[in-house]
């Protein structure tokens, strides 16, 4: 038997008082796909960053292909044949694909030869793995799925033998994810070793050969995938049994809460983002909006949430019109009207990262009378409110004085959810509520959304996770290219059917 491709021995790493990795050992065979799962903050990213030379371990050894290797920096990692696709992409946004690919792997001092060579290699890779991207496209114009392909292409271009992917599917649509896994399969066949970090147990079950579970900085188990089950893994991760299916009662829709008619949005560059959208949501109902990112869902949330004005159309809430094109088009007035909004991107929109938790709990509601003391803000009231919300929404650590950036992704999301749902809005707008969040937190957030529905509120759920859409929604609308390409009932459809609608095919293809 050949030496393992990667062997970690007794790796420890502390950030100040936080012990992110405790005496971790791991061994991955050549040509295997190895999964790592664990809650937010379990230390997965830290471990991989150590392997990639981004952090230096306090203790421990790294062995690559049977040789002890010191990896003081990323350059050493690259030399050792390691490539990493980070959780947050490391791409230069205003560079083209080919520029990003050659960055750091140029052939000489001049760019031209490198670029023309890279073009050729990209073409080969494209044919070999089906990784098609326009080499001259600028990164910021690409969808996240394509951006991720660029990340993978970067590593392949460097001829990495060991590929680390940190939560690669967090931002991908199901079909994009499927495609990614097909590619990973092909890479594996070529003898490349892959480490895959993900929160989605289904993916682990589908593609990995072996899987490790991390918990609070420790490696708690490593098992063969074939010998375990999602429920077993979940229990290992969280330390208790977790419901993987959403549990909910049948909906009892009431009167119409939100009525959207002929909504149109033309953006600053003249592109029509929403083309005459009309739909209704009733009280006690969750309308799920499925669709590939970039087909107008974000704009829909932004218009309803008051972040951008609509070009034309009408929106009424409980029969009362909302001014969507004029002066009232701002987040404050929407909140006053009883619309809560969990935005798609918690770090860029939903939270002010340097603000402490209590300040973030007031964010958007800072005009709320209960937060005021005369002309000043009543900070102690806000802190008290925050402590209470953290308690009820199980935010960890429950410390109102901690800046938002020091919470893990899941807990950041819980802060946003607590803020937006705790006021029992008549209408809740939710975008990607569980993106990059661990299964414990997903379960919790899903329960909250159902609870709000059961309290007779209307919910508009936008998600690229079809599981989530199918599990939570009472009705499903699919958006494609700025229009609603079809509506389904969850019990009346399946992923394949939705996938076609998402691709713009409107005829019904014999749903299950």
């Amino acid at each position: 038997m050949t030496a393992p491709a990667i062997e970690l021995k007794g790796i420890s790493k502390a950030f100040g008082p936080v012990q992110a990795n405790k005496d971790i050992s791991l061994s991955v065979q050549k040509g295997a796909i190895h999964g790592i799962v664990g809650e937010n903050g379990a230390g997965k990213s830290t471990l991989m960053s150590i392997l990639y030379g981004f952090y230096k371990a306090d203790k421990g050894e790294i062995w690559i292909n049977g040789q002890q290797t010191s990896i003081p920096d990323s350059q050493a990692a690259i030399r050792a044949g390691i490539g990493m696709v980070h959780q947050h992409f490391k791409l230069v946004e205003n560079f083209t694909v080919v520029e990003n690919v050659i960055l750091g792997a140029e052939d000489g001092a001049m760019l031209r030869p490198s670029i023309s060579k890279a073009r050729k290699v990209l073409l080969d890779l494209e044919q070999e793995y089906g990784l098609e991207v326009n080499p001259d496209a600028v990164i910021e114009d690409l969808s996240v799925g394509h951006q991720q392909r660029v990340e993978i292409l970067k590593q392949l271009y460097r001829e990495a033998d060991i590929l680390i992917l940190d939560e690669p599917t967090g931002v991908l649509t199901p079909s994009e994810a499927d495609q990614l896994f097909r590619i990973l399969g092909r890479l594996k066949d070529e003898g490349k070793t892959i480490i895959l970090i993900t929160h989605k147990l289904r993916e682990i079950m589908d593609v990995t050969d072996t899987v490790s579970v991390m918990r609070r900085g420790e490696m708690t188990a490593t098992v063969k995938t074939a010998e375990t089950s999602p429920a077993g893994l979940a229990e290992l991760m969280v330390g208790r049994k977790v419901l993987l299916e959403v549990e909910k009662n049948a909906a009892t829709p009431g009167e119409v809460v939100l009525d959207v008619k002929d909504l149109r949005v033309v953006d600053g560059t003249g592109v029509e983002r929403l083309k005459s959208i009309s739909f209704q949501i009733r009280a006690g109902e969750i309308l799920g909006i499925a669709g590939v990112a970039g087909n107008g869902q974000s704009e829909l949330l932004e218009v309803l949430g008051g972040m951008i004005p609509a070009t034309s159309g009408s929106v009424t809430l409980h029969g009362q019109p909302i001014d969507i094109t004029g002066r009232e088009s701002d987040g404050q007035s929407r909140r006053r009207r009883g619309i809560g909004h969990v935005p798609e991107d918690r770090q860029v929109e939903g939270l002010i990262m340097p603000y402490e938790a209590w300040e973030n709990v007031a964010f958007g509601y800072h005009h709320d009378p209960k937060y005021q003391a005369g002309i000043l803000m009543n900070n102690s009231a806000i802190k008290a409110d925050c402590a209470e919300k953290m308690e009820r929404y199980d935010v960890r650590p429950p410390n109102p004085r901690l800046p938002a950036r020091n919470f893990s992704g899941g807990n950041q999301q819980k802060i946003v959810v607590a803020r937006e749902m705790d006021r029992h809005p008549d209408l809740l707008l939710v975008g990607q509520p569980t993106r990059g969040v661990d299964i414990g937190a997903i379960e919790f957030i899903h329960k909250q959304i159902i609870a709000l529905r059961d309290a007779g509120k209307a919910v508009l759920l936008v998600s690229v996770e079809l599981d989530e859409i199918l599990g939570l929604s009472d009705r499903i609308a699919v958006m494609f290219d700025g229009v609603i390409s079809g509506e389904r009932l969850p019990e009346d459809t399946n992923e394949g059917d939705l996938g076609l609608l998402m691709a713009g095919v409107t005829e019904r293809q014999g749903a299950a």
């Binding site: 950030f15 990639y52 981004f54 952090y55 230096k56 920096d73 990323s74 350059q75 990692a77 690259i78 030399r79 990493m84 980070h86 490391k90 791409l91 230069v92 946004e93 205003n94 560079f95 520029e99 990003n100 050659i102 960055l103 750091g104 792997a105 140029e106 000489g108 001092a109 001049m110 760019l111 031209r112 490198s114 970067k154």
Partner: protein, 392 residues
């Protein structure tokens, strides 16, 4: 306004634009790598002093130039130390460098020369002489006697210091380095997303120091040109805010080399015009304004036309600058044709003499107007101003 006046104006613009251009390109390299630099002014001043001082003592302007560049690079190194190695605030560091240069130059000058913070006047080889190309006249009065083509040749093309020609060459060179070399690619990347550069196994620190050093070299040339090219010796504070104007030009140019040339030339031109036309009558002023507008519209028209030819624009894009060109040329000629002696509105307008202060402020006003009216939002390199922190 006659032809030779326009030529003289353009000639003056070239001279005034050169230090701006060098400093602007200096800032471009630094800021493209993510290091903001409001210390251009100070580096220019330090280079001006040391180039003049050493040119005087050594008798060779080239030795002076080298020393000036070295002084500027030393300050750049200080800026790098503060903002790259010690991850300090880049703005504070820049402010400190400006103060430091303003004080140090005079203190040292006083210690060395005892002439009140001035260097002795430079003569002969201690100065950059103007290069007179074959067949060109050099003195303004001689040039005025030549044919129009000869005037263009002698006034505009000939008769500048070697540093002017060098700085004009540095523009394409900068473009080439930034967009055509590996170094340039990495430099631009490190200003946009240092983490991407770092994960690619390239040293962020090394790249940023390289950028800052280039910045120092170019600032050094700018300062040396001020003290040994445009004037003959150092006078305290002689950079006179040009570092800040260069910074403005850099933002105006949106951190791109060719645009920097355009922006600096425009600033130089406005400066030259403000110098030349003090105490002018409203009528003349208006006709000049429309002439300038016409020039700007013409440039826009050409740019649009090139874009159209490349298929990056529609024919409609030509409309606005086209109309603006016709209207402004018409108005300029019309106003010029009015006879101020003839009475009526022309005479009335002509009784207003614009105060000299207005003409001196005009370049600055125009910059604001142009910025607000013609140029969209300037987006700086995304990682600019932020030290790159990687926990180890």
């Amino acid at each position: 306004m006659d032809f030779i006046t326009i030529l003289q104006l353009l000639d003056s613009s070239i001279r005034l634009a050169t230090p701006l251009l060098l400093a602007c390109l200096a800032g471009l390299f630094s800021e493209r790598a993510g290091i903001f630099d409001i210390g251009l002014e100070g580096k220019m001043l330090a280079a001006a002093f040391f180039s003049a001082a050493i040119a005087f003592t050594s008798g060779s302007v080239w030795v002076g130039l080298l020393t000036g560049v070295a002084a500027s690079v030393a300050l750049s190194g200080l800026h790098g130390l503060a903002s790259i190695t010690f991850r300090g605030n880049q703005l504070i560091s820049g402010v400190a460098i400006n103060f430091l240069a303003a004080g140090m130059t005079v203190v040292i000058a006083q210690t060395w020369f005892s002439q009140g913070g001035r260097t002795p006047a430079l003569t002969g080889d201690a100065r950059f002489e103007e290069i007179v190309l074959p067949g060109a006249a050099s003195r303004i009065r001689d040039i005025a006697q030549q044919s129009p083509l000869g005037q263009i040749y002698s006034e505009l093309i000939s008769g500048h210091s070697i540093l002017v020609y060098i700085s004009l060459l540095i523009v394409p060179l900068s473009w080439w380095v930034l967009y055509r070399t590996r170094f340039g690619l990495r430099l631009r990347a490190v200003g946009e997303n240092p983490a991407a550069v770092d994960t690619a196994g390239i040293s962020v620190v090394g790249l940023r120091y390289a950028a800052v050093i280039i910045c120092g070299v170019l600032c050094g040339l700018a300062g040396a040109y001020l003290a040994t090219g445009l004037s003959a010796g150092f006078v305290k504070d002689m950079s006179a805010g040009r570092g800040f104007i260069a910074l403005a030009a850099l933002i105006f140019a949106k951190w791109r080399p060719w645009h920097a040339l355009g922006a600096c030339f425009l600033f130089g031109f406005l400066d030259a015009a403000g110098n030349r036309f003090q105490n002018i009558e409203l009528l003349t002023f208006l006709s000049l304004t429309f002439l300038l507008l016409a020039a700007v519209s013409a440039i826009m028209l050409v740019i649009r036309a090139i874009m159209l030819a490349r298929g990056k624009d529609t024919a409609r894009g030509l409309l606005t600058p086209g109309i603006a060109l016709v209207v402004s040329v018409g108005l300029a000629l019309g106003l010029d044709a009015l006879d101020p002696e003839a009475g009526g509105i022309a005479t009335y307008l002509n009784t207003f003499v614009l105060p000299v202060q207005f003409m001196q402020a005009l370049p600055y006003i125009l910059v604001v107007v142009i910025l607000a009216g013609l140029v969209g939002k300037a987006i700086p390199p995304r990682a600019g101003g932020e030290p790159y922190v990687k926990e180890r």
